[in-house]
């Protein structure tokens, strides 16, 4: 029972009497970590959430950002880690359902989904089962509701074998005057529409607010089951209701079910409510307690002025959407719940909605010293060709085609830059203009495990670079913090550091963190936390989608430029892990001022038409990024790594595989080389021209005139394309 003794005492004080069974369940649901953010609230205030674009910040179901004068983007991230560990298919599917309804609650039209998956080793049978189930769950649900899954992030690591992280995000667009921001008033009716309430997902948010049990199957009743057809109907009817202007306020019934939806809506507007539980449409006969805390999916709360009830009902009937009018709002701030004439609960909305924040103890564990270890005695450099192949075939790097081809990423006909082609997805607004938005999700669990502050900051920086690389201007981010048990100081410390890292760099990069989500208790039944992971989803503004940039080399003979300075930063790198099996060392330092300067330069170079292709340098370093560009463009290259602008380098593998931040690779059109260098000079950006693309079937790295690496491009393409499928389909 996640309510602590102190909390029960607090409830007695609030009510001035012994709580009823129903009231206790309501408090348990609402005061769960998942719904109330009680452990995280104080620290989350550190995040900069303001900016001139921000229309709705944290607090509502989803934030809204004014990306263009006449378009608002509503976007949010969510985790479904616990349900996905127990029932990967339904857990992941309902994660999609929930995040979409958050976007709908502001009256926006959902246009894209992202999935950020931190998964186990596909050769581990249990992890393999989880991977297939999760991807299939997202595929089946996302495809059926007609929202394209356009981007994401994937990581494979033994640390996630039994507890994967399933983070999903949804992007919606709305006209500024249609965003649902009106205020519910006393006398307004409360309608629950959508799926009938059943016994699934009972106290699911409370289940998500404790560690996984050893026998996870016992928690199966806490996992919700998805119904994408109903979700699709909700999407359709909400667009119609918004167009007709007959709904005042919308809220998702997510974690905490009916209790959370009613009490948060009431508390946020200084209202009370009267609820008649027997009016709710149900799948089976349920007790009042179950009705209050069931987390059955595809349900939404509508607030409707009594005079509009008929037109709302007409639309819902026409589209075969079930609904029930279950009560109304009052002005007394008290939520009264009746069941067949008997009062089963009477609680003050505000006290129920917002438990007292907890100040959790925080201590760095000894393990974190790994992230401070200097790498002064690395083994000698192995053969470069073998290293390149080994790093390229890391599952964290190879093509994710096996995953993204299972998602309909084309529906909606907005996806201009598609999965596998660019550093971020680009979607057009489809309003007759050339405008669009870029979206991307990023994290690096290894970085945040070794150094949560800098690791989380690097995730923000990588997201920033990915958005720039497709030719967009980064506007805002949301974050999902996946951490361990907040009751354990040495777990909570990671959470605290991740928040602080994001807060710091977001301020530096002037990227408001407009919303987010926290997921605690990501530990296995032995109490070992998974790699704490800060997932960032960002949106960028694209003024002209016809100039959206991809990463594939386009032409023979164009110049290859590296933007930024390369430092010997192999700590926490993919190279170190793949080649030497080491997960240690100081991770690459976040470099916000270089990010801003280099980002501005790349953005300019793209809009001036100087470049054919752009790719940011991230895990796997320079060598990997170059090969990815060659593989995708089916055009080889020859580069001289002696020409890379670097500092403090002692070994060549540091140039090839260092994961120094704030760097990009550009394919520069020959005729614009001079202009590009002048632009770099003017903006104070370090650019090194290291070679040219070659229409030959080889990739060549030299040092001065010595050939270090000469690999066959078709071979590299082949392993890049097929490795993931082989690992998952043939790995067990």
């Amino acid at each position: 029972m996640p309510l602590s003794l102190e909390e029960v005492e607090e409830i007695r004080r609030i009510l001035g009497r012994e709580p009823t069974e129903e009231e206790l369940a309501m408090f348990e649901a609402q005061w769960s970590e998942h719904c109330s953010y009680k452990s995280s609230k104080l620290l989350l205030k550190l995040l900069p959430s303001e900016g001139r674009h921000v229309v709705v910040g944290p607090g509502r179901d989803a934030p809204a950002v004014k990306v263009f004068k006449d378009w608002v983007v509503v976007f949010k991230i969510e985790s479904h880690n616990h349900p996905s560990a127990v029932d990967p298919y339904n857990g992941a599917a309902t994660g999609i359902g929930g995040i979409v309804r958050d976007i709908l609650s502001l009256g926006a039209k959902p246009i894209a989904l992202l999935d950020m998956l931190y998964l186990g080793n596909p050769r581990n049978p249990h992890a393999n089962w989880l991977i297939r189930g999760i991807v299939r769950g997202i595929s089946d649900y996302g495809n059926r509701i007609g929202i394209p899954t356009v981007a994401g992030d994937t990581w494979f690591d033994n640390a996630f074998n039994s507890q994967p992280l399933v983070n999903v995000a949804c992007i919606g667009i709305a006209k500024p005057d249609k965003v649902v921001l009106t205020t519910p008033e006393p006398g307004d009716l409360i309608i629950i529409m959508g799926n009938s309430t059943g016994r699934d997902g009972l106290l699911g948010s409370s289940f998500a607010s404790k560690p996984l049990a050893e026998d996870v199957d016992r928690d199966i009743g806490a996992v919700q089951v998805g119904d994408p057809l109903t979700e699709k109907l909700l999407i359709d009817v909400i667009q119609i209701l918004i167009e007709k202007g007959v709904v005042k306020y919308i809220k998702d019934l997510g974690g905490g079910g009916l209790t959370t939806a009613v009490c948060e809506t009431a508390a946020d507007h200084n209202l009370g409510a009267v609820i008649y539980l027997e009016k709710l449409h149900t799948r089976q006969s349920l007790t009042p307690l179950e009705l209050l805390v069931s987390e059955s999916q595809e349900r939404m709360l509508l607030v409707v002025n009594p005079e509009n009830i008929e037109s709302v009902a007409r639309v819902l009937d026409e589209y075969d959407v079930m609904y029930s009018v279950i009560g109304f709002f009052t002005d007394d701030g008290i939520i009264k719940v009746f069941y067949n004439g008997v009062k089963v609960a009477e609680v003050p909305a505000k006290e129920l909605a917002k438990p007292r924040p907890l100040r959790r103890a925080s201590t760095p564990p000894l393990e974190v010293l790994k992230g401070l270890k200097p790498l002064y005695n690395l083994p000698p450099e192995p053969n470069y060709e073998e290293s390149i192949v080994k790093v390229l075939t890391s599952l964290n790097i190879v093509s994710k085609r096996w995953i993204y081809e299972q998602y309909d990423h084309e529906v909606g006909i907005r996806t201009v830059v598609k999965p596998g082609y660019g550093d971020a997805a680009v979607l057009r607004l489809l309003d007759g203009s050339r405008r669009g938005i870029a979206v991307k999700g990023d994290a690096n669990p290894r970085y945040t495990y070794l150094d949560p502050f800098n690791g989380a900051a690097n995730a923000v920086a990588e997201c920033f670079r990915n958005l720039v690389a497709v030719g967009s201007k980064p506007i805002a981010i949301v974050d999902e913090l996946n951490a361990g048990n907040p009751e354990k100081p040495e777990h909570f410390w990671y959470f605290e550091m991740m928040v602080k890292g994001i807060a710091w760099i977001a301020e530096e990069l002037k990227l408001p963190v407009v919303g987010g989500k926290v997921s605690f208790y990501n530990e296995d039944h032995r109490g070992k936390q998974v790699k704490p992971t800060a997932t960032i989803v960002g949106i960028g503004r694209v003024d002209d989608i016809t100039k959206a940039m991809t990463m594939d080399f386009k032409e023979n003979g164009s110049y290859i430029a590296i933007v930024g300075v390369t430092y010997p930063e192999l700590g926490g790198s993919e190279y170190l892990f793949r080649i030497f099996g080491l997960e240690e060392g100081e991770i690459p330092r976040p470099r916000p001022s270089s990010e801003l300067r280099n980002g501005k330069f790349v953005y300019k170079a793209i809009s001036l038409g100087y470049v054919n292709a752009v790719h940011d340098i991230s895990i796997g370093g320079l060598a990997t990024a170059l090969i990815e560009m060659a593989v995708k463009g089916k055009i080889g290259f020859e580069v001289d790594i002696a020409k890379v602008f670097a500092r403090g380098i002692q070994r060549l593998d540091e140039i090839l595989f260092s994961e120094t931040q704030a760097r990009y690779i550009l394919e520069v059109k020959g005729e614009y080389l001079e202009d590009l260098l002048k632009l770099a000079d003017r903006l104070g950006v370090k650019v090194s021209i290291i070679g040219r693309t070659r229409d030959r079937n080889s990739v060549v790295f030299t040092k001065n005139s010595t050939v270090l690496v000469n690999l066959d491009l078709s071979y590299l393409s082949d392993i890049y394309d097929k490795t993931l499928e082989e690992e998952i389909e043939g790995g067990v």
Binding site: N143, G146, L229, D320, E410, Y421
Partner: protein
């Protein structure tokens, strides 16, 4: 003025895409029609777009094929109204018996979303009137149940006498027999195909190496409705 109905069932999700292409790319008057309100009267052509009608319960397209809207549609053949079924629309037409064969789960067992090359054989009728034998069309597929199946006898006797769309060699994404991507009635009045022409009708959308060839299907319709086929 030409008017095209875009028929929408619960779970249809490409209705707005088809509507957009008709209206904004080809300037054709079109309307999304909710299945409950559908009747055959007054339409020059009918398109059943993709999606997951009734959530693909039972089998893809099976429930929609038994609605009154589709019963109406069966008369379309008699009065000569062109019908196009895309993806789930194709599945519905097959389930309703308006086109031969069956659509089975993909050979891989997985949903697949990918751009493919297809080509046309024996073009005939309003949907392919501007194409020629062997005409290449690039379009994306996005389906879990798109493996076309027909037995040898019906293939020889029916399909080889009708217009056909096949995946180019090596591009068959689902294990369809004879690489079949789309089939039509003998006169070409009714066409069903798994790939999405509406996703391949604008220059911006195809990835590198592909062309927006799907537009030829809508262009053919516009042309044919004016000049006959």
């Amino acid at each position: 003025m030409v008017k095209v109905a875009v028929l929408k069932f619960p779970g249809t999700n490409c209705d707005e895409d088809v509507h957009h292409v008709l209206k904004n790319v080809f300037f054709v008057d079109s309307q999304i029609v909710w299945y409950k309100n559908f009747s055959l009267n007054g339409w020059d052509a009918i398109i059943i777009p993709g999606g997951f009608s009734y959530g693909d319960w039972l089998r893809a397209g099976a429930i929609a094929a038994r609605t009154s809207a589709i019963e109406e549609l069966i008369n379309a053949r008699d009065i000569g109204v062109p019908v196009l079924g895309i993806c789930n629309g194709f599945q519905i037409l097959v389930e309703a018996g308006l086109l031969p064969g069956a659509l089975l789960p993909n050979e891989s067992g997985r949903f697949v979303c990918r751009w493919v090359r297809t080509y046309v054989e024996r073009p005939r009728g309003p949907w392919l009137s501007l194409t020629t034998e062997g005409y290449e069309i690039h379009m994306p597929v996005a389906h879990g149940e798109g493996r076309y199946y027909i037995d040898e006898e019906n293939y020889q006797n029916i399909l080889l006498k009708s217009p056909l769309i096949r995946y180019a060699k090596g591009d068959n994404p689902n294990g369809s027999v004879y690489d079949i991507a789309g089939v039509a009635s003998e006169d070409g009045l009714i066409l069903g195909l798994m790939p999405h022409p509406e996703r391949s009708s604008e220059d911006l959308l195809p990835p590198r190496g592909f062309r927006p060839g799907g537009r030829i299907i809508f262009e053919s319709l516009v042309y044919s409705l004016k000049r006959g086929w």
